[in-house]
């Protein structure tokens, strides 16, 4: 058995190297398909991160009446933190709100003077609430509109931003769904293109396959080298796809940073390069093996 495996591998390498033009053409098509897949991967990374950044920027604020006791406000904070939809609650006391206000208007003499003349702090304490999902703000808002809180709550910003939040939640949802469908479609097309290329390569070897069968070679012995060649196509194409995508990533990374400063595409690419290479090679190998195996079936019936 070891001898058979050795011979299959040897002939697989021969199949790859001696049909250099055919191998180059097959690898080229596979590289293109794998670049499409890598593109989907990068696109998915960018949209996921952009959406995460946007999601993180959405919050609702609940403003309390100026006479609301602080321990009451903190009790509301604690109860909010107990909700499964709530990711984070930030408490801004009346004093902190005043400090922030002053800091924001330190160059505005009139406002600074007005605050001093007022003699007391006119600002309310507030809670900034972030949800795991923008679609959950409505639930949180309903919770806050509860009658028992009405005596201390002044206003909830959700109702002012509701249209924007709803729209954004809808956009995020649509982008994610469309992205998944597009990725599945492109993956299918890329897979079919590779399958067809390998099918043509094996079609050109159909006579050779017939000769091998007539000489007494078993299906394993005939098919094996083509499967090995399929694996080699996958390895070479997987590596090339990452190498060829590298300059493109370096080129577009600064532009991505301008739009979304939180996202560093180049750093992500380099820190995950070993996984990307393994994924690309793995996918290429699966495509090569499955296509070769499938495409040979009819020619073995001799």
């Amino acid at each position: 058995m070891f001898t058979i495996i050795y011979r299959i591998i040897k002939y697989g390498f021969q199949q790859f190297s001696r049909n250099s033009l055919l191998s180059a053409a097959t690898v080229a098509v596979m590289v293109m398909a794998l670049i499409v897949l890598l593109g989907i991967n990068i696109f998915s990374f960018l949209t996921d991160n952009t959406l995460a950044v946007l999601k993180d920027k959405i919050d609702i604020s609940v403003y309390f009446k100026t006479n609301a006791p602080e321990d009451e406000v903190l009790r509301v904070k604690r109860s909010l933190e107990g909700l499964p939809e709530v990711k984070q609650v930030e408490y801004i006391s009346r004093d902190q709100a005043l400090e922030l206000f002053k800091a924001n208007h330190k160059n505005d003499e009139d406002i600074t003077q007005a605050i001093i003349e007022l003699g007391e702090n006119p600002l309310s304490a507030s809670l900034n609430i972030k949800a795991f999902n923008p679609g959950q703000f409505a639930t949180i808002s309903t919770y806050l509109s509860n009658n028992s809180l009405a005596p201390i709550v002044e206003k909830i910003s959700f109702y002012e931003n509701k249209t924007v939040i709803d729209l954004l939640a809808k956009v995020i949802d649509t982008v994610q769904k469309a992205g998944t469908i597009l990725a599945a479609l492109l993956t299918l097309i890329a897979g079919l293109v590779v399958f067809n290329t390998i099918r043509l390569a094996i079609y050109s070897s159909r006579e050779e396959i017939g000769i091998m069968r007539l000489v007494g070679a078993s299906n394993l012995f005939v098919r094996g080298p083509y499967i090995v060649a399929g694996i080699l196509y996958g390895i070479v194409a997987g590596l090339l796809s990452v190498l060829l995508t590298l300059p493109a990533v370096i080129f577009i990374s600064p532009y991505v940073k301008i739009f979304i400063p939180e996202v560093n595409l180049q750093a992500h690419f380099f820190s995950n390069i070993h996984i990307l290479i393994l994924t690309q090679i793995g996918f290429g190998m699966i495509l090569g093996v499955v296509s070769s195996y499938w495409a040979m079936r009819r020619y073995l019936k001799v």
Binding site: E208, R213, G216
Partner: protein
């Protein structure tokens, strides 16, 4: 022993008006070990069909094809390689593996049979020497002449010492000099104890051999003579 028992092969076509064309009709014959048999007849008489039925490339529409312990018509695709390791095949168009040199083409038959490397290294040079191609061991098929290609094909067919060599018009693409070289080689192989079945429509070869001749016409055996001559039916 090889035996064809009432074998018919009918293709779907439009020859007899019923949508069928018969390549073989109720053919029955036997070939004993170590015989040299020529199958003769016009093109389309059924010579190649007989050879293809024997290798299992074709299945008979009716009847039984026996090769030793095998009932060929009942073998599955997975079982056929075992049968074929007892047969050496030679074709008019050589059918060498284009991306392998002479040595590798011959060695392939042994590798397919599971021979170990030491045996291969010993047997292939012997076979190359026997067919006079020792100096062309590392030439690829496109670097060989027609006669040389056919000699590589003969070496490949006989290397694993099969019980039967089947040659389908092996001289069809060769000049007269190479033609007789090939026939001489087949004679030599037969003398060493291998059954040879030669399908040909070359009158000169058949008459010179003076061996058993089975003559076919329109899929039927019309003559079967121990020391036959080429007869146009």
């Amino acid at each position: 022993m090889i035996a064809f028992q009432n074998v018919s092969k009918i293709y779907n076509g439009n020859v007899d008006g019923n949508g069928h064309s018969s390549a073989l009709m109720e053919v029955t014959f036997q070939i004993q070990p170590k015989e040299f048999v020529s199958l003769v007849g016009r093109s389309g008489a059924g010579k190649s069909t007989i050879l293809n039925l024997l290798t299992g490339e074709l299945k008979p529409s009716k009847g039984r094809v026996i090769f030793g312990a095998y009932e060929v018509n009942k073998l599955s695709y997975q079982e056929l390689p075992h049968l074929r390791r007892h047969i050496g095949v030679i074709f008019q168009d050589f059918r060498l593996l284009p991306n392998r040199n002479s040595y590798e083409n011959i060695a392939f038959a042994l590798e397919a049979c599971g021979y170990n490397q030491a045996d291969i290294d010993e047997l292939v040079p012997q076979a190359l020497e026997m067919v006079g191609l020792k100096d062309k061991a590392y030439n690829f098929p496109h670097e060989l002449s027609g006669g040389e290609k056919q000699r590589v094909a003969i070496a490949r067919a006989m290397i694993h010492r099969p019980e039967v060599i089947m040659a389908d018009e092996p001289t069809g693409n060769l000049d007269p000099f190479n033609k007789w070289e090939i026939i001489k080689l087949l004679g030599k192989i037969n003398e060493l104890g291998t059954t040879v079945i030669l399908a040909t429509h070359d009158k000169e070869i058949v008459n010179n051999l003076g061996r058993r001749v089975i003559t076919l016409d329109s899929g039927r055996i019309v003559l079967d003579e121990e020391k036959g001559k080429f007869v146009l039916v």
